[in-house]
Amino acid sequence: MRYHPHTEGDVREMLEAAGAKSLDDLFRSIPAPLRLNRPLELPPPADEITLFSELRRLAARDDVQHPPFVGAGAYPHHVPPVVDQLLLRGEFFTAYTPYQPEISQGTLQALFEWQTFVCLLTGLEVANASMYDGASATAEAVLMATRITGRSKVVVSAAVHPEYRKVLATYLRSSGDRIVTVPFGPDGRTDLAALSAAVDEETAAVVVGYPNFLGVVDAVPEAAAAAHAKGALCISVTTEAVALGLLQGPGALGADAAVGTFQSFGNPVSFGGPAPGFFALREEHLRQMPGRVCGATVDKLGRRGFVLTLSTREQHIRRERATSNICTNAGLCALASTIHLALLGKKGLAELARVNYARGRLLSEAMERQGFRRVFSGPAFNELAFEVGDAEGVVERLASRGIAAGAPLARFYPDDPKLRGALLCVATELHAPELIDLFAKAVRS
């Protein structure tokens, strides 16, 4: 076994030194009735060639010949090879959480850079070292808001990603906190009248998508004003972070916390995970922030360096009084995003966002040429819902042609008759204009 370096001679000498008669004898502290007296029922060991042929066969059963036209929380983007080749530096990917800062400056400085990118893109003052994903980041942000305000109600836009809302409900189940969902209007933006009516002195937070799940650039300034009028926090949720290269940072629009995923930067869709959740915040609430955070300091010789800091908020110190139970997060995914953002830089990000906006328009025009109108009139980025009639039928039909067509919105909003035929589709820099045209025609026929 290539990963087990022990020779029979090694085993013999080591057993002798350890005072054990055999390998079995090492387990004498496990009472006999509790031991497994048979081999595990698993397939026999595979050599590397067999292993690769088996997994290649499996991977080949997944149809990825065309870039998917579905986003809905996981966005197909080009990942420059630089990202993955740097991630594969063993010093990065085989490291643990940087608990020994003197020999973890690489991870720590990269996390500091990640935190800076998150702050710059969101327009907020502080950020943590990443979360599991966008959904749990959203739930943690709401829990934080209940701690900060001492209130127990949260007002959530129905246009926030439905899976994020489900995760929020799961996280809040035992706390007794209440979730009030407010609808979106025909423009796909949160219904501001309903939102204002729902926010009261019991409200800890208002949660809106930016862009929201429907692909629409939601009204963060108005939502923030409604929240602040009653002393609640405004939390913005971003699933397609490339949009932040075109849109103002939510912090600049009044959001007190911005959460979501940076999957779009440097992380493949990978059947839904892993990807880095992000969490940014106004500095005044720093001590209530969940998760790990990296800070700058100096070493004994006065040289700048980085450490994990403010750990008195965390579970390994504070145990049941911690701000969260999170321990491992999504460090390597955050590194991937950091590398991709470094490559993009100021000009590259602005241009990538504009390419995505332009491809969204091409998709809109191509679909309209085929007679499919947009479902929502509000401003969009690269993701749009179209009225296609039998949305599930379209998805099934295009699957047989090797195209992941989109997300039928009726799956997420089964009670909304207006969305029965709505298909949510995305176009990014991966979708060349000709491909977009072919797609729209394929949806038609």
Binding site: H6, A46, E102, L111, E163
Partner: protein, 521 residues
């Protein structure tokens, strides 16, 4: 090159630093150490490191999106070319310690070799480029892999069903406790308390609190084990569950587990298993056969998916049949020769719901499955045997140099205390830092909390006899040095790119991001 902070690499200090006296075997940590500023401190206006396609449309966003919501570019972003980016991160990587760099005996973290095969396989386009909402007909390979992994984890742990959804061990704990809570709620009463032994990871009480449970600590005995009497005394019908790590964080098998489970079950409670230390049991014993009702895996520990400098992890949760209805969605099922995800709550009305977006950290599933396939039943058992052998060998080589607070048998890890160091004034932290100068990553320190100045060593099965011998020689060397030249130990580390960092300053005056003109002094 622009350097708005005025911060300069201190070449002189670097030279003086490098000239310091050599310690350690084989001059272990000499290398090319470059100073490297922040990305935001370099570059020049107009540079970029990407190649983008033409837009294809000249549609103006300002005609659609309110101008107040637009920005021309993000202020403060760096402007650097591809080579600069490559060099920046390559240099940063050389400041890092990974398993690939050297021995990483971080107790309870199971820092075993991360196979390159697994990395290559997770990157196959059929896995990496598959969208989570691709129709099932386009995703049969990924779904079959998830199904096989689910079956394998259930078999390895001795449970009925496993959810792959949780993103990491701590989310697995959260999930397990939610399942426990849902089970009790379904029986009419969520109950109020969770029992947690004093040797537990900090995530256990934090996860309990997040579920609204009051934490009741239970003391372990003189032998480092949890005893049925202690559990009996704490157990009543308000207790929802006990959380037990087995083997525990002292590396000791909780040999009274079956009786403890009986005590808990007799009062209607459930037994949660923290699977952080599952590496010790692979193919040898199964938590499901010992009285546990739920347990979480840490694929990034036991199944060698990379720790990545702090994630991503993956924390599947395995349960007994009676708890299966409460598991979060999705579940992967096989129907004939087709595979499908159950995502509709109508199919699983008692499910706790969703715990994360989509289906779990699929990229980690590929890596874990690859390792399980390569090792097979014999290889998995061999992994546990060699992990335990390595820990016991380290224990034998160190037990006369460091105080072993518990004489009880060790499984996959061994914990020493700082008792023998006391007269020298050298602390556990000093020993840890001196190990760095010897070319080793330190063990986990100051944990578990029940051991004063704990040094918790987990070698894992992928390390050779010689590596353990070299590490133990360094540990012994430091113990001797502490007795005769404590100041040398306390000055450590002298080798890495940074000396000891001022953590108090970091917490007192937090600087958590770059800003123009940033100064840290």
């Amino acid at each position: 090159m622009a350097n708005p902070t005025g911060w300069k690499p201190d070449v002189q200090a670097g030279v003086a630093h490098a000239a310091q006296e050599e310690v350690g075997l084989g001059h272990a940590t000499r290398g090319l150490a470059f100073e490297e500023g922040l990305l935001f401190e370099r570059g020049s206006r107009g540079r970029t490191g990407v190649s983008l396609p033409p837009r294809g449309s000249d549609a103006d966003p300002a005609r659609e999106i309110p101008v107040a919501l637009l920005r021309p570019e993000v202020e403060g972003l760096p402007e650097v070319g591809e080579l600069e980016v490559v060099r920046h991160f390559t240099r940063l990587s050389t400041w890092n310690w990974g398993i690939d760099t050297g021995f990483y005996p971080l107790g309870s973290c199971t820092m075993k070799y991360n196979p390159r095969s697994s990395e290559a396989l997770a990157r196959l386009p059929g896995f990496a480029e598959l969208h989570p909402l691709a129709p099932p007909s386009m995703a049969q390979g990924a779904l079959e892999l998830m199904y096989r992994l689910e079956r394998a984890l259930s078999e390895i742990s001795g449970f009925a069903t496993t959810t792959l959804a949780p993103a990491a061990g701590a989310q697995g704990e959260l999930c397990g406790l939610m399942v426990i809570r849902a089970y009790h709620v379904a029986r009419g009463n969520p109950r109020k308390k969770v029992l947690i032994p004093d040797t537990a990871h900090g995530t256990n009480p934090a996860s309990s609190a997040l579920n609204g449970y009051q934490v009741v600590p239970v003391k372990s005995g003189e032998d480092g084990r949890l005893h049925p009497e202690a559990v009996r005394a704490a157990m009543d019908e308000d207790v929802a569950a006990i959380m037990i790590t087995n083997p525990n964080t002292l590396g000791i098998f909780e040999s009274h587990i079956a009786e403890i489970a009986d005590v808990v079950h007799a009062k209607g409670g459930l037994v949660y298993g923290d699977g952080a230390n599952m590496n010790a049991l692979l193919g040898v014993a199964r938590p499901g056969d010992m009285g546990f009702d739920v347990m979480q895996f840490n694929l990034h520990k036991t199944f060698a998916t990379p720790h990545g400098g702090g994630g991503p992890g993956s924390g599947p949760v395995a349960v007994k049949e009676q708890l299966a209805p409460f598991l979060p969605l999705p579940l992967v099922v096989r129907e004939g020769d087709r595979y499908r995800l159950v995502t509709d709550p109508a199919e699983r009305p008692r499910s706790i719901g969703k715990l994360r977006e989509f289906w779990g950290n699929f990229g980690m599933f590929v890596r874990a499955w690859a390792l399980i396939r390569e090792l097979g039943p014999e290889g998995l058992r061999r992994a546990a045997e060699l992990a335990v052998l390595n820990a016991n060998y380290a224990r034998a080589l160190l037990k006369d140099a460091y105080d072993l607070p518990y004489a009880t048998d060790s499984l996959h890890e061994v914990v020493f205390s700082d008792k023998n160091l006391k007269p020298t004034g050298v602390t556990t932290m000093d020993v840890a830092k001196r190990l760095i100068d010897h070319g080793f990553h330190p063990p986990t320190v100051y944990f578990p909390l029940v051991v004063h100045g704990a040094l918790m060593i987990e070698p894992t099965e992928t390390e050779s006899k010689e590596t353990i011998e070299r590490f133990c020689a360094a540990m012994r060397d430091i113990a001797e040095e502490a007795a005769v030249r404590p100041e040398a130990v306390k000055a450590a580390p002298v080798k890495p790119v940074r000396a000891r960092l001022d953590e108090t300053r970091a917490a007192r005056k937090p600087v958590l991001r770059w800003t123009p003109g940033m100064k840290v002094e």
